[in-house]
């Protein structure tokens, strides 16, 4: 399966990654080869296998609805690049 250059560019945009002109061909080839491997897996006969997204049969453990966390804002915000009046500062998102 071949992946188009435009698809790589779109994926890069969605993922907020910049891929320069020189490496884009290389990335396209490498991702195509990963998809080739997926194609190969698709040919395996798994009619008798139930769909699964996890390797073991287990279910989610549930937590009771009790407050266990304290306010650690100061600690967390001490490693933030920028804060303002208790808010995390980010570049303005709207016009």
């Amino acid at each position: 399966m071949t992946i188009k250059r435009e698809e790589i560019e779109n994926l890069a945009t969605l993922s907020r990654l910049s891929i320069d002109e020189k490496t884009i061909t290389d990335v396209t080839d490498r991702l195509s080869s990963v998809l080739d491997l997926v194609d190969q897996l698709q040919t395996a006969n798994c009619e008798s296998v139930v769909n699964t997204s996890r390797p073991f049969h287990s279910s989610q453990r549930l937590r009771s609805d009790e407050v266990t966390e304290n306010n650690r804002r100061e600690e967390f915000q001490s490693i933030a690049p920028e804060i303002h009046n208790g808010l995390f500062s980010v570049p303005k998102m709207i016009e």
Partner: protein, 485 residues
């Protein structure tokens, strides 16, 4: 050409849990910014989500309330997109196997008919944080508060079964009534506890294919929702009739300026690259849990309405209004329990009280006149201590916080005179003081005499400073005048 409107809704309902869906941080509203955002909510490296049992139970309760299929095994997916109020870079949500499957909600239309709106599914997910762009912030900076990040939501997705703004609003109100009645959401719309996305399209009447739809996001009041739909329908019809085509896009409606604008078109739409969340295992809801929750499910609005008709002998009309809002139902039952007068309580609640609450943008939860105070007023109307006219005055005073019904009646000297001896004396005095009116009464045809009573009544009420019991006065007056014939 005649056009038909087609509407589908996506409704976000904040669940009334004490803590977040994947962490033990508090969800209480109005805290200091970022004081309730823990390491998990902030997506600190090395943290893992642990699912809140209550959130799952609330979602199942909603499914039971709308008679939906409950998925015994549901899974969480990651919906990937970048935005500063989403620390993980993805929203943990459900796509392939949501916890609640197909169901339906019956709405009642203004003409009294019922209509079933199909629910496609409802899924569990986490809310994002909140960004602020105004206020005391440096130039070019937005501020992010992550207290809301990770608050549990269910997103309820309807089929495109609604045909007018009226139906969409009736559906939204019914959902509000259901989720507040079963106690899974506080229903505080102004705090964003329920938010609506409306999908709207139009098509020529009689056509069976759907037109291109637009989605107007994040409406947080019934009024804005109705306005946004009406404006969008008008815009689409004008556009098509002028030879244009509707493009699939996401729009935002500003309720203050009444203006909607395009947010993004389909071409720019995000490709969310969903995949199963590797941090969370499948959620299993056992038959036992479902049955336990079904047994404990509080009374649903439709059942409550039926009960009101039978238990309190209310009309369908009254019962429907009182049961249409869970806070109103609670108020009604609590007040009636004290006054033992359901009909009069219903009248006052549906009339005077609702009008006053609406005019001041209040609800039955924060009504200045409590259920107890209304009951005390109703008791005094029922035992003829005060007339209806006086009752309105007393009601006003209770609303202003001047005290209980009895205190106000006492303070304002409003007690209605029902003592027949005292009333007879006033009536006799008025008759004696007005020989011309008496003459006129006697000389009138029998059929017209009733009309002549008004003049006497006015004088009697004046003489009693408005405190005479009108029904009793009427009786005594007629008796005395008839004696003179």
């Amino acid at each position: 050409m005649n056009w038909e409107t087609v509407i589908g809704l996506e409704v976000h309902v904040q669940l009334a849990t004490k803590t977040k869906i994947f962490s033990g941080a508090s969800t209480s509203f109005g805290a200091e910014p970022n004081s309730q955002a823990c390491a998990i909510d902030l997506a600190m490296p090395g943290t893992l989500p642990v699912l809140n049992k209550q959130a799952v139970h609330y979602a199942v309760m909603f499914g039971l309330a709308i008679d939906a299929e409950i998925e015994q095994e549901s899974i969480f997916e990651r919906k990937n997109y970048f935005y500063p109020d989403l620390p993980k870079g993805y929203q943990t949500t459900q796509l392939e196997k949501p916890v609640v499957g197909r169901g339906s909600v019956v709405i009642q239309l203004e003409d009294g008919t019922n209509k079933a709106i199909r629910i496609h599914h409802a899924h569990l997910e986490e809310d994002a944080g909140k960004s602020t762009h105004e206020g005391d912030l440096p130039h070019g900076v937005s501020g992010v508060d992550l207290n809301r990040a990770g608050t549990p939501l269910i997103e309820i997705v309807s089929e495109p079964d609604m045909r007018s703004a009226e139906e969409a609003v009736a559906f939204a109100k019914k959902l509000h009534n259901i989720v507040t009645s079963i106690g899974i959401c506080d229903g505080e719309m102004s705090q964003g506890s329920m938010r609506f996305d409306v999908n709207v399209s139009v098509r020529p009447t009689g056509s069976s294919t759907l037109g291109t739809r637009t989605e107007t996001k994040n409406l947080n009041s019934f009024k804005f929702m109705e306005e946004a739909i009406e404006r969008e329908v008008e815009r689409q019809i004008d556009l098509i009739e002028d030879g244009g085509t509707v493009i699939q896009e996401t729009r935002l409606y500003n309720g203050d300026t009444k203006v909607a604008k395009s947010m993004r078109s389909k071409e720019e739409a995000n490709d969310y690259r969903y995949f199963p969340c590797p941090d969370l295992l499948p959620v299993i809801v056992t038959d036992d849990t479902i049955e336990e929750l079904r047994r404990a499910l509080p009374e649903l609005p439709d059942a409550r309405m039926e009960r009101f008709i039978h238990e309190y002998s209310l009309s369908t009309y009254d019962a429907n209004i009182l049961a249409s809002n869970s806070a109103m139902s609670v108020f009604f039952e609590s007040s009636t329990a004290r006054s033992d007068n359901p009909k009069l309580t219903a009248n006052w609640m549906i009339g005077e009280l609702t009008a006053r609450l609406n005019s001041e943008n209040l609800d039955f939860v924060n009504s200045p006149v409590s259920a107890e105070q209304l009951a005390a007023l109703v008791v005094r109307i029922a035992d003829n201590s005060i007339s209806n006219k006086m009752a309105k005055q007393v009601f006003d005073a209770i609303w202003q916080g001047e005290g209980s019904a009895d205190e106000i009646i006492e303070a304002k000297g409003l007690k209605q005179v029902s003592d027949s001896g005292a009333l007879e004396e006033i009536v006799t005095n008025v008759i004696e003081a007005n020989p011309a009116m008496v003459e006129d009464f006697i000389n009138s045809d029998e059929g017209k005499r009733k009309k002549k009573l008004g003049g006497f009544m006015g004088q009697i009420m004046k003489a009693s400073k408005g405190q005479a019991n009108p029904q009793q006065v009427n009786k005594i007056l007629l008796q005395k005048l008839n004696e003179l014939l």
